[in-house]
């Protein structure tokens, strides 16, 4: 056999490269991450610099996107907003990933009665509408956490709420995949060779279901970013002076009649980010599992 062995990811990468939209979206997301990481360097002003002589100005050379009602530079706040929105999205997605994988793998691997009980719990959480669940969890964490600053408390509450809501979907996917892989011949062979349960789960089963997990994760991050901005928009999420796109939209809504650019700018930033993640997610799904197309 002379054909070089190709890993799943190499194949997937080759297929993904052909999908222009997904590729550009990936580049866009990387750029956005760069902007978020270097927000301090890139933004012309700090996110809470107030300039009371320059309130609600239209775009100018000094303030490329104008200023808000407290004289803060909108572009700088958008850039810091990218930092906050992206880190909230990514952090919560990773947290839900950890929880979802452990929970789903356990349910799928053990099976039987334990699986039934675990999944019934997931069903119950699933039958509460997302935003209601998010808000309830946030009420809980707002009241029990120890941070003194109300803004910091709100941030932690949002992080916990999003993480807790996110793992449900991941747990379902992981469980389904584990149950499928569990029946495959190579797992049986490993059993016959005396492999122990837990090491086998981590060494042989989980690596083989990474594809679907990565795809779900690509959709989880934008959904978390979106829900964060919804929460902040209705005033139950992050609080100013923190700047996330939802916080900006919340503030912009109040001046929509006279200064619509204050809400349209963060809205557009959010829209482009969502679009990029959705296109990348679609591309990844097709690349990882070509049959699903």
């Amino acid at each position: 056999m002379s054909t070089p062995s190709k890993s799943l990811w190499f194949d997937a990468y080759k297929r993904l490269k052909k999908n222009r939209a997904a590729l550009y979206s990936g580049v866009f997301i990387l750029l956005l991450c760069g902007v978020a990481i270097f927000a301090r360097v890139l933004s012309p002003y700090s996110f809470d610099d107030q300039n009371m002589d320059q309130i609600l100005t239209t775009p100018s050379l000094a303030h490329w996107l104008g200023t808000d009602d407290l004289g803060r530079d909108l572009l700088s706040r958008l850039i810091y907003g990218a930092q906050m929105s992206m880190s909230v999205g990514i952090f919560t997605a990773i947290f839900s990933l950890a929880m979802g994988v452990v929970y789903g793998a356990l349910a799928g691997w053990v099976g039987g009665r334990i699986d039934a009980v675990m999944m019934r719990f997931v069903d119950i959480l699933d039958s509460i509408p997302t935003l209601v669940l998010l808000i309830l969890v946030k009420i809980l964490f707002d009241s029990v956490n120890v941070f003194m600053h109300p803004e910091l408390r709100a941030l932690v509450g949002v992080l916990m709420a999003l993480s807790i809501f996110g793992w449900i979907m991941l747990a379902r996917v992981v469980r389904g995949q584990v149950m499928q892989v569990k029946q495959l011949l190579y797992v049986e062979a490993a059993h016959a060779l005396g492999a122990k349960n837990l090491p086998m789960l981590f060494k042989h089963v989980l690596p083989n279901i990474m594809g679907p997990i990565v795809v779900v994760l690509t959709f989880q991050i934008p959904s978390n970013i979106m829900f964060e901005s919804f929460l902040s928009f209705i005033g139950l999420g992050l609080q100013p002076p923190y700047s996330s796109w939802g916080v900006l939209a919340n503030a912009g809504w109040k001046t929509i009649k006279t200064y619509p650019h204050l809400i349209i700018a963060p809205g557009l930033a959010l829209f482009l980010t969502m679009l990029a993640f959705n296109l990348l997610g679609d591309g990844l799904r097709d690349a990882v599992d070509p049959k699903s197309k």
Binding site: D123, I124, S127, I128, P129, T130, L131, V132, I135, L136, I139, L140, S143, V144, P222, M226, S229, F230, F233, I234, G235, L236, A249, G252, W253, I256, K257, P260, I263, I264, G267, L268, L270, F271, M274, L275, F277, N278, L279, D282
Partner: protein, 363 residues
Amino acid sequence: MKEFAKNFTKKVVGPAAVIAFLISIVVSFAGFEIPSAVIYVDAGLIVGFFALYTITEGLGAYVLRRLGQTVFVIWVIATLTFVLLRIIPGGPFDQEKALAPEIKQAIEAKYGLNDPLALQYWHYISGAATGHLGYSYKYVGREVSEIVSESFPVSFQLGMFAMVLSFLIGIPAGVFAASHHNTWKDSLTMIGAISSVSLPSFLVAAIMITIFCFGLDWLPVALWDGPSYYILPVVVLGLRPAAIIARLTRASVLEVIQSDFIRTARAKGLAEQIILYKHVLKNSLIPVITFAGPMAAELLSGAFIVEHIFNIPGMGKHFIQSVTNRDYPLVIGVTLVFATLLVFANLIVDILYTYFDPRIKLS
């Protein structure tokens, strides 16, 4: 006889329920108050259809078991929310300006907050079972169930309009894209769809309000008082589900088009339009029906934002307000209603699967 009952349910009662329901929605969208007699007829037809269908298809045991599970799920949610709101430190009557201790005592006694927890729990659960969800802390003297029953019809209207709109746009768009597969028409439709999925609702609302309310002065900015008030919220709420339905329909139509029975239909020389709308569409709607369950959840969650934006007096707006006001009985009440709706929506969707796809057997 049994066949007759089956056919009667499927071919007469079902369509009659759908038609009656759609007519009511159209009439209601036109701004007319629906007489309560018509609402009873609608509800009777729908409940009657599900009852007849359950009996004639032999799904009785399944539906009973699911109903039992539903009661269990709602009980768990009720208990969890009760526990959640009792372990939160700080009562609803802690204000910046402290009340005199006697007054606070009296208020807490009035709402039963000094009773032992077990007794409070019993009052709460037995009340919820009989439709009494306690008194609002904020709107003094008003029962939660009263507030819910006032705001529910508004949210229901909004949700139903948006659902009808999303099917009206989504399905034709999906069929259109699929029937022009791999052409610019297909790409354009799908770009539109994925953009609509990615649009945050407050951006759509902001743009539309700027254009249609402030710019052209055609439509009102807020509230829920008649057809001109309905348009913007319904479009904002229905856009995302419409886009998801368009994508689902397209994928499903593309799959069905390749199947053998379509090739047979083509070989028989049927007109392409007949094939597309009669044979393909009918068989490709099953995944779209599958989405109806998650869509109910989507519309409920989306309605929060839309009701907040347009200041519509529905349940979502009350929920947000009651969270801000720490009006916990109202928070619990609305949560329970939302959860109940969602659980029933999922049950209905599961039953409908078997209607649209007789190959599926529920057990």
